[in-house]
Structures are given as C-alpha cells and as structure tokens.
C-alpha cells in the first residue's frame, strides 16, 4: 500500500462500493474501509494519499477518527462527508485542519475533483518532504566552520566581511565557500538560500 490512494471510510457498504466504482471510472486509486477502527488499525506511517471520512458512523465517528489521526502525527488530507445537519461539526473539523467537507447528497464529480486535489497536495507535500530530507542530509555533512561561513553567506555578506568577522584570511573563506557549495550541491548563494529556506520554513512550522 505504498502507492498513493484515496481511503474511503464509510459504514454503508453500498456507498463504499459506489464510490469505489466512481473513482475507478476516473482512474483514482482508492481503498475502502468499513469503519474508522479498521482503518486506524491498518494505517502505516508511510501511507500516502487522502482520507474520505463519513462523519456519522456506527462505532467511532468520523471526527474522532480525525482527532486520532492528528494525534498520531499523520498529516494526510481529510475530506469529510456530512449528512444534513452535520454541517456545524464539519466546519469545526475544518478549523482543526481538515482538508475540506462535502455535504450529502453531493455532486459526485465535485467529490472526485476534491479528492484529486487532495492527492496532488499530498504528493507535493511528499516531494517537499523528500527535498527537505536531502537538504538535511547535505547540511549534516558540513563542518562547524563551514556552517558558520554558510550562515554568513546566507546573511548576504561578502567574503571580505566574513573573513574579518571570523578573523581568518580571505583565501580560507573562499576555500570554505567552495566546500559548502560542493557539499550542498549548489552553484550559487541564491540556490543555497532557497534550499536552506525550504528546510527552515518547514522546521518553523
């Protein structure tokens, strides 16, 4: 189950079957779960895609399931399906970070569109994550001195100023600089800043 797919969780078998058929006709990979419990039991950290969650279910409700997911640190986009009168609940869920909600009876094409958008976002997230991991791995290669020099480069300072601040010669600074560029696999200070910002902004999240 490493392939990204839409996880449909609904206690009504007909709905699951119908949605599976619908997604199949739009070439969206999907998996169905008869209850929140069964989904949570099977869930692995590496799973990608999105979750389509019915709010009103036997046993664990959709909202509870959503809370458990977030508690476990799982960031999969969640789309709620709400019945009539459940809208306030869905809005509350949205505020907690749900991706979207769609009211029953829904326009099926809309649902598929939302799911596709969610899958795309998740894919982007995954990519960003992968990039960040790479950058972090490259950063780990830098020596303490090289990191110092890098911070000053990121601050936009010239080699001369850096040499003055660190009390080293210009030549040494240049040597460190080329080493940093080499280790970070970039060709310019601008590229370096982009890479590092990617990691830092995520980390600040």
């Amino acid at each position: 189950m490493t392939q990204p797919c839409a996880h449909i969780i609904d206690d009504d078998e007909a709905i699951r079957d119908a949605l599976q058929w619908l997604f199949k006709t739009r070439d969206v990979a999907c998996a169905t779960w008869p209850s929140a419990e069964s989904f949570l039991e099977a869930l692995q950290p590496g799973w990608r895609g999105c979750v389509v969650l019915d709010i009103r279910m036997e046993g664990m409700s959709g909202l509870e399931c959503f809370d458990v997911l977030r508690q476990r640190g799982n960031q999969l986009p969640v789309i709620f399906i709400t019945g009539h009168g459940d809208v306030p609940m869905a809005v509350a869920a949205l505020k907690k970070g749900a991706f979207d909600f769609i009211e029953k009876p829904f326009n099926d094409s809309d649902l598929v569109d939302i799911v596709m958008r969610a899958l795309e976002i998740d894919a982007n997230n995954q990519r960003a994550e992968a990039t960040r991991e790479t950058v972090e791995a490259r950063l780990a290669l830098l020596t303490a001195r090289e990191q110092e020099v890098m911070e000053l480069i990121l601050a936009g300072k010239f080699n001369k100023v850096i040499a003055d601040e660190l009390c080293i010669s210009m030549r040494t600074v240049e040597a460190h600089r080329s080493k940093v560029f080499e280790k970070m696999e970039v060709r310019s200070a601008v590229e370096l800043a982009q890479l590092v910002n990617l990691v830092r902004s995520r980390g600040a999240h």
């Binding site: 709905i15 079957d17 619908l22 006709t25 019945g83 009539h84």
Partner: protein, 698 residues
C-alpha cells in the same frame, strides 16, 4: 372598739387606689387583647412603665399609713397613760398636802388646847374638874396624844393624864432630851416639839412642850406626848389609807412608823415631804398603792395591738396576693405579647367571628391579604367586603355552613376579592372559639393566600405541557432526520454509481459486463430505498381506524366530559345543540373523540382574549342528507385568508406552543373515515369547523 374604726376607715382610704390602678391596668389589658390590637403604637410601653412607678408608689401608701396609724395609737396610749399618771401624781401631792395640813392643824389644835388647859391647871393653880375632863377628852387616840403631863416652872412633874404607872420611869419622861425641850420652850416662850424617841413597847413618841405663863411669869409647861404611830394612823381617813401607804422616816431614812396594808406599791407614785413641826429631820413619805389593774384599759390596748397585728398581717397578705396577681399579670402580659408577636409575624391571616358571623378580630396578615384595614373589617357582618361579587351566593352558602358548625375540617378553597379588586384564591380553616367558661362564642378562621401557589401550579402544568409538546417535536424531528439519512444512503449510492457509469460511457472502450453489474447494484439500491418507504408506510398503516357503529352524540358528550375541567379553569363554556335520534356512523371512537377534543380546544384557544361573556364554544350535530355534520363554533379571532390556505399543512401553527399537527391529523382522520373537515366564518364572529361523516348504510 375605738381602735377598729380608724382601721377600717384607713383601709377604705388607702386600698381603693391600688384596686383602681389594677382595674385601670386591666382595662388597658382587655383593650390590648381586644380588636384594636393591630394598630397599637410603641408609646404604650412608656405609659406602662409610668403606670408601674405610680403603682409602686400607691402600693407603698397602705404600709406607710398602717405604720403611722400604729405609731399614733401607741402615742395615744402612752400619752393617756402618762396623763393618767400625772393626774394621779397631782392627786397624790394634793392628798399629801391635805394630810400634812390636817396633821399640822391637829397638832396646832392640840397645842392650843394644851395651852388653854395648862392655863387652867398651872396658872390658876387649881385643879378644875372641867380641866380634867378636857384633858381626858384631849388624850385620845384620835388626837395622837398618849399622855399629857404638866410640869412646873422648875420642870418638875406635877401631874399626868393618864397618870404615870409605877413601872414608868420619870427619867423616861423627863430625860435629857425632854428636859432640853422644856428649857427650850421656856427660853423661847413658845411651844417646842422634841425629838422622836423610842418608848417602851417599841413605840416611837415625841413630845410637845407648851410653856404656860401666869401673871407672875413662867408657870410651867404642858407636855403632850404623841405616839407617832397613833398620830399617823389615826389621823388618816380611811380612803387615804386605802389609797396610800404612809410612813415616817427619820433623818437617816429609817422607817419609824408605817401605815400600810398588804398590797404592792407603785414604784413611781411616791411623795416625800419634811414633817414639821415635829422636826428633827422627819420625813413623811406617801406612796400610792399600785392601782388596781384596769382591765378595760388592758383589754382596749390588747385589742388595739391585736387588731394592729391583724391589720399588718392582712396588709402583708394583701401585698403577697397583689404580688402574686402582679406576677400572674406579668406572665399573662408576656404570654399575650408573645402570642401577639406570633399573630403579627404570621403570614397566615387570622379572623375571629362571633356566632352571628360578625368579625371581632383580624390580624395584620389578614388585613394585608384582603387589603382592608382593621377598622373597616371589625364589626362587619356578612356579606363581607372582600367577598367576590361573582361568587356571592356560593360564599354565603359556605359561610352559613360554617356558622352551622359544618365547616370541612380539611379546609376549603374560596375565591375572594381584595380591596383593589384583585381576585385571589384563599385556603380557609375554621375552628370553634371557646371562652374561659367553656362557652362556644364564635369561630376562628385562618386564611392562606394560595393564589401564587395555584398560579405556580398552573405555570408548572403549562410548562410541562409545552415540554411534552417540545419533546414530541424533538422526537418527530429525530424521526424525520433518521428517515432522511436512511433514504439518503441508497440515493447517494445510486447517484455515485450513475456518475461512474456516465464517466465510463465517455471513455472509448466500454466493458458491457462491468456496466451491467453496476446497473444491478443501482437497482438493488433503488429497491433498498423502496423498502424504507414501505416500512414507513407499514408504520403509518398500523393506525388504520377500526370501524364500529357509533352514536356521534354520545361521542361528543364524552369528549366534552374530557375537557370540561380544563374549560372551567379557563373560564370557557361549552354549549351543545345535538339533534336527537341521529343515525350511527361507522367510525373509530378514539379517533372521532380526538377530532372533537381538538376542535373544541382550538375554539377555546381562539377565544383566549375574549371577555367572559363571549367565551362559549357551541357544538352541534345535524343530519344532512346522507351525512352527519358536526359543527364546532367559536367567537374567537377568526381565520384570515392566508392562514386559511395553509391551515391543514403539517407543521403550520399560529400558537406559540403549537406543533402544527392538530388540524392536519384531524383532516387525516376525517379522510380515513371517508368524511371531510372544513371551516367557515361564523356570522357571529369567529370560526365554525365542520366535520362531515357519511352515514353508515343500514
């Protein structure tokens, strides 16, 4: 008896103020326990304390008077006694003086006679027979003389009467002392009394020497020998001796002679005086005998003391009685104040009436409840001002029942009216009033204002009804929501399948078997939806009417019986105008009853704001052709066109607590019975609902 008169007059004078004070106090108290109590003012307390100070002063008066009276009596007795004594003493002194005079006179006379006789015997020197007779006459016990002797100028004894006996010594008569007296008399040329001496036989004697002069000078002396005893005793008249003890004392205070009898002597009534001329320091002492006990006086004083004692005792008794009474009064007053505080603090109205039904007492709570003042109520006879004019007859009946002693012991409720016209419900208990003598004097009634309580009960009931209505609504809402969800599921599934199919159809290669399978599933979901609808239908079908031949008039009477209590409470009347001998209809009795109850209730709701005169729901039945028509007419607000259009829609209502299902259900029931429910405007104002039911073919 003289002591008693002032005593009783004292009593008359001093005691009444106390009684009067007590009576005044009683009057005050009676006034307090009376009807005017509710408006007693605080200054009464100071008046009471002033009264008690005055009362205390008044209480002290009799004691003071009694003490003063006794002191005066004692003074009087003492004064009388001392006066008496003074009198006695004066008498004594005058008696003594008289006696002394008497003695002096006797001595003088004897001396004069001695001189005369002496003249005849000594100067004439011849013994005259008449002189001897005179001498014998003279020497008698009455005169105190025991012997007369005559001496010549040389002092020699010439003769004596009675003559001197053999045994008697001349020396005795003419001893040293006698001789000196003789010489003294000769020298002084006047009579001289000698010293008292003891003679034979323990007799005290003294002599008087009377010098006799002839032509040739001193011729001798006549000597009279007095017996002191004889002189004193014989000289005293009987009454004097009876009254006094007379004694003669010498200069040393020795008693020489005493005339006494055996009787106690008074220690105070005594008088002494010098006894001259015998001289020589003799003293005549007269002592009164102790007077005979004067029984009358003793009795009088005794009775005064006794009566005084009784008086003090009775005053003390009276005082104790007064104190006891005072304490009882205090206790009574405290009790009465306590009771009054109780009555005043109570929220329950209290009202006492006599046997004629006249109000004799009301407490502040009662005044507060009915809004009339004490003055406006006390003394009133029925009909009372607080009776509700609308229930006058009913109230009078209850009143009569109470006076007849027929009051319900568990109390009764009555609608009364306050002074401001506001009506209120009162719960009243009556109990007979029995006075101290055990007589039945009237009725004591307690009254509770239960308006608020009843209002609260009514409010609770309404709230409960509203709550029930709400809960019914909630249940219905939940049912609708569940139904919607149930139907939504298959419909949503069908929609999804359908969209999927459409997606497939837009793709170039179509797998027919796959589509067929999906269409199967669509069909299955459609059947599922159908099943749900069927279940609902089955549920509804369960309330299909059971039909039985029904007397519609009977149904209407039963339905009205159900809501009569409610209508009376809301001040509504229900009138019926039922056509007799109606044919039966085939109908479900419970359902028809429900329709009639609903329509009547709607009519009453519509007349909620009407004046009491226009609060009548009229229910009538008519046989028109092959239908029975039930008309329920009200004079309410009527139904406007917009409301009329939506009247039978479910969930449409004009009432705050309405559910909007009543008329809808009624119409459904009418239709179930193949009848019709309609409405028209009442020409008298309001609306007429008509329920038409087909007559059962006979």
């Amino acid at each position: 008896m003289s002591g008693r008169v002032p005593c009783s007059s004292q009593r008359r004078r001093t005691l009444p103020p106390v009684y009067e004070a007590t009576r005044i106090y009683y009057i005050v108290d009676i006034h307090n326990t009376g009807h005017g109590r509710a408006h007693m003012s605080p200054p009464r307390t100071t008046a009471l304390s002033v009264l008690s100070v005055r009362q205390r002063r008044l209480t002290a008066v009799p004691y003071l008077t009694v003490l003063l009276f006794l002191a005066v009596i004692a003074a009087l007795v003492w004064f009388t006694r001392s006066y008496d004594e003074e009198e006695q003493r004066a008498t004594l002194i005058s008696d003594v003086l008289w006696m002394e005079q008497n003695l002096q006179f006797k001595l003088e006379r004897n001396a004069a006679q001695l001189a005369q006789i002496g003249q005849e015997i000594l100067a004439a020197d011849r013994h005259q027979p008449q002189a001897s007779a005179a001498l014998r006459q003279l020497v008698r016990a009455e005169n105190g003389l025991v012997r007369v002797m005559w001496l010549d100028a040389a002092g020699r004894l010439q003769g004596a009467v009675p003559p001197m006996g053999e045994g008697e010594m001349i020396g005795e008569t003419l001893g040293g002392q006698s001789a000196s007296s003789f010489r003294l008399a000769q020298a002084l040329e006047r009579r001289v009394y000698g010293q008292v001496y003891a003679a034979a036989g323990d007799r005290q004697q003294f002599e008087v020497h009377v010098p006799i002069y002839a032509e040739d000078g001193f011729a001798g002396a006549m000597v009279g020998v007095y017996s002191l005893h004889d002189l004193v005793t014989n000289e005293l008249p009987w009454w004097f001796a009876e009254r006094y003890r007379v004694s003669v004392l010498d200069s040393d205070g020795r008693e020489l002679v005493a005339k006494s009898k055996i009787a106690p002597l008074s220690d105070r009534q005594s008088y002494s005086m010098a006894f001259d001329p015998p001289g020589g320091g003799l003293t005549l002492q007269v002592t009164a005998y102790q007077g005979e006990t004067r029984w009358v006086q003793v009795l009088l004083i005794g009775s005064i003391l006794l009566l005084g004692g009784i008086l003090i005792w009775s005053v003390l008794q009276l005082r104790r009685e007064l104190q006891r009474r005072h304490r009882a009064e205090q206790a009574l007053r405290s009790e009465s104040l306590f009771r009054r505080a109780m009555e005043d603090s109570m929220l329950t109205g209290l009202r006492a009436r006599d046997l004629d039904g006249r109000i004799t007492y009301v407490n502040p709570a009662f005044c507060r409840i009915v809004g009339y003042s004490v003055e406006e109520l006390v003394g009133r006879t029925p009909p009372m001002p607080y009776w509700d004019p609308d229930f006058l007859q009913q109230t009078q009946e209850i009143h009569d029942r109470i006076l007849a002693g027929d009051a319900p012991p568990e109390g009764f409720e009555l609608r009364l009216r306050r002074k401001n016209g506001e009506r209120f419900d009162a719960l009243i208990f009556e109990a007979p009033l029995i006075d101290a003598a055990g007589r039945h004097t009237g009725w004591m009634g307690s009254m509770l204002d239960i308006t608020a309580q009843k209002r609260a009960e009514e409010l609770t009931r309404q709230q409960e009804e509203r709550l029930q209505a709400t809960s019914r609504l909630i249940t219905m809402g939940e049912m609708a929501s569940t139904l919607a969800h149930e139907l939504n599921q298959p419909l949503a599934a069908i929609a999804s399948y359908n969209t999927g199919c459409l997606n497939r159809l837009e793709q170039p290669d179509i797998d027919r078997s796959e589509l067929k399978d999906i269409f199967d599933r669509i069909g299955r979901q459609a059947r599922r939806a159908g099943d749900i609808i069927r279940r609902v239908h089955d549920f509804v079908r369960r309330s299909e009417p059971k039909r039985e031949p029904l007397d519609i008039n009977l149904m209407i009477r039963e339905a009205i019986g159900l809501i009569e209590a409610d209508s009376a409470k809301r001040g509504m009347r229900i009138e019926t105008d039922l056509e007799e001998a109606l044919p039966t209809v085939a109908a479900d009795p419970v359902m028809i009853e429900q329709v009639i109850v609903n329509l009547v209730r709607n009519g009453m709701d519509a007349m909620r704001d009407n004046p009491p005169a226009r609060r009548t729901v009229r229910v009538g039945t008519r046989h028109e052709g092959d239908t029975l028509v039930v008309r329920v007419a009200d004079n309410g607000t009527g139904i406007d066109a917009e409301t009329g259009r939506r009247l039978f829609e479910p969930f449409f209502t004009t009432k705050a607590e309405g559910m909007g299902m009543g008329l809808n259900i009624c119409r459904s029931i009418a239709e179930l019975h193949h009848g019709r429910l309609g409405f028209e405007t009442n020409p008298d104002g309001g609306t007429i609902f008509t329920l038409s039911l087909p007559v059962e073919p006979s």
